[in-house]
């Protein structure tokens, strides 16, 4: 917003809210971090596409889109939690719990109740995280590390560690997994809608502004009269609900409730996507747009590894390397101090 750089009294006239130039505004809206992500994404796409033209087939793009839906949902809520200055590494376990709950309740009472039950369990799981953090005054990493183990255990207990139910013939689950609206797969719709809601709330409402404020300086936020506890509880509760929604998608895609196998390690991917997308892990900085770009990039990377026929175990190595590179670039650019250097 450089155009406002004049003496304030010179621009007192009420109509003098300055308009920024188009390019400048577009850049501001996208953000520098996102521009570099976009460039990296284009380079990756060009690299893969130059060797394997089938990458550009509509069917392959749909494959990427549906493959990232589950992880994308988790990355979105992880972004919100990180913006608030927290971290939630229990989302993967919560997704597994959501998956078995949705399949088991479905077997008894049908798809609608199955999905609602899963989301209800997610709300509860998220609230437990929030309560432990707020009222137990436990560091979020430790609190959700504990519930990461606990929720996984609960999922294994209720399912006896086995896949549950068979949703592969149910119309609702089939629609989620393989249906489409206006030619676009349902999974992509779900991801896009959740992303859009998160983006709008963060960018255009006071709720979003307060989340950034709490992540930036929680003391300032408290002194400004913001009820921080309520925000923490609400954000972790929402993270739980969205995590179990991701679990419902896992059930739909695999045709049964998976306590662990569909969701293990998703929390790390979610944190990776958020960090790659420009979220500062100390809170207050980051955008949904950046996270979504990173999610797409990780999806393209996985897809490329398959197309090139590389041993899929390299996926984890590639993801890890990408995260390190992204964070290093981010820290260097933000002028982050060296360990022990005074500010």
């Amino acid at each position: 917003m450089k155009a406002t750089a004049e003496a304030p009294e010179a621009e007192l006239a009420p109509q003098a809210v300055p308009r920024r130039s188009g390019v400048r505004r577009a850049l501001d809206a996208i953000g520098v971090q996102n521009v570099s992500l976009l460039i990296a994404l284009v380079a990756l796409v060009a690299l893969i596409g130059s060797k394997h033209s089938e990458f550009f087939l509509l069917s392959n793009i749909e494959v990427i889109g549906t493959a990232i839906a589950v992880m994308g949902l988790l990355a979105i809520v992880e972004t919100v939690v990180i913006l608030l200055g927290g971290l939630d590494i229990s989302v993967g376990s919560a997704a597994g719990l959501g998956s078995v709950v949705s399949a088991m309740v479905f077997t008894h009472s049908g798809a609608t109740l199955g999905i609602l039950a899963a989301l209800g369990v997610g709300l509860l799981a998220g609230l437990v995280n929030g309560v432990v953090i707020v009222y137990g005054r436990v560091n979020p990493v430790v609190a959700t590390l504990a519930t990461l183990a606990a929720y996984k255990g609960v999922a294994q207990l209720v399912s006896n560690g086995r896949a549950q139910g068979y949703t592969g013939t149910d119309a609702a689950f089939v629609f989620i997994a393989r249906g489409a609206i206006a030619g676009i797969p349902t999974l992509i719709w779900i991801l896009a809608i959740v992303a859009l809601i998160a983006h709008l709330v963060l960018r255009y409402t006071d709720l979003g502004r307060n989340i950034y404020a709490i992540g930036g300086n929680d003391t300032a936020a408290r002194l400004a009269g913001i009820n921080i506890n309520r925000y923490i509880l609400a954000v972790y509760a929402i993270a739980g609900v969205v995590a179990t929604l991701a679990g419902v998608l896992i059930t739909a895609r695999t045709g049964s409730g998976q306590p662990v196998s569909g969701s293990e390690g998703l929390e790390l991917q979610a944190v990776t996507a958020a960090a790659l997308g420009g979220c500062a892990l100390q809170g207050g900085r980051g955008t949904i747009a950046g996270t979504m770009l990173a999610v797409i990039m990780l999806g393209v990377l996985d897809n490329g590894i398959i197309l090139f026929g590389v041993n899929p175990f390299w996926q984890n190595v590639a993801r890890g390397a990408l995260l390190v590179i992204a964070v290093v670039i981010m820290q260097l650019r933000s002028g982050e101090r060296r360990v022990g250097m005074p500010t």
Partner: protein, 257 residues
């Protein structure tokens, strides 16, 4: 002498076994700068936080505009028109000037943030205080200097048609020129009719800018006198010994925390 806008009567405050404020009487008048001085740990910040509703008082009354009030949190204080600029600058580094000035009290149109309106109001307030140091209201606060940050914090306090502004060591970390700017700003707030409380350890600043000086000594109000009736060494004596000539506490030697 103008009307008292805010007064405290017999306020006590303890943290567990530590009795920090003893029977404090304290008055803030509209259009005046009241300096609140005292040694480290005398209880100045605690007094401010009691007025702001951060700490509940144990006993005693707070009167606002002559009426007893109960302040249970920052929002209650803000609703009365009491704003505080804290010692440890309460600004969020990741947000810009406008976003900080409206922190927790964003203006909305419908469900959405009214950015244009907030930006305008922020610039109008900065202009009314003749602030020239903050060039763009959309700069992130992290890139501002200490003086600019302090200016933003003070402007934030007057944005709200506030009646009383409490400033806890606003010049502590500032250089000569920036201190000058902040002190000018403090004076201007009083000229606009606000009741201003200034906490400072710099006696020259206090003597120059204040109308009255209230001295805390080990949690007790040692003296509350017009600045023109005091000189530098009397203030220093009141701060360090609780007494100067026939001013101050009757028996400061028996006073303990």
């Amino acid at each position: 002498m103008s009307e008292p806008i805010l007064s405290l009567r017999g306020v006590n405050k303890s943290f567990g076994p530590v009795h920090v404020l003893h029977d404090i009487d304290f008055t803030v008048r509209a259009g005046e700068v009241t300096a609140l001085v005292g040694d480290n740990g005398a209880g100045k910040s605690t007094l401010v936080k009691c007025i702001a509703g951060i700490h509940p008082v144990d006993s005693g009354e707070i009167l606002f505009d002559g009426k007893p009030v109960h302040i249970h949190g920052p929002r209650d204080a803000a609703a009365l028109g009491i704003e505080v600029v804290y010692q440890d600058l309460a600004l969020a580094d990741n947000l810009d000037v406008v976003q900080n000035m409206f922190l927790g009290r964003e203006r909305l149109s419908g469900f959405l943030l009214d950015e244009a309106e907030m930006e305008l109001a922020a610039r109008r307030t900065l202009a009314s205080l003749s602030v020239r140091t903050v060039k763009s209201v959309r700069t992130p606060v992290s890139s501002l200097s200490g003086g600019q940050r302090q200016t933003v914090a003070i402007a934030k306090a007057v944005l709200w048609d506030s009646k009383v502004v409490l400033l806890d060591e606003p010049t502590a970390a500032l250089g000569v020129a920036q201190t000058r700017q902040v002190l000018d700003l403090v004076r201007r707030l009083a000229e606009q009719g606000l009741g201003v409380v200034l906490i400072s350890h710099n006696m020259n600043d206090v003597l120059e800018v204040s109308d009255r000086i209230a001295t805390l000594y080990l949690g007790r109000m040692a003296a509350e006198l017009p600045t023109r009736e005091l000189n530098h060494s009397q203030v220093v004596e009141l701060i360090t010994a609780g007494r100067s000539g026939d001013l101050g506490l009757a028996r400061p030697d028996v006073v303990t925390i």
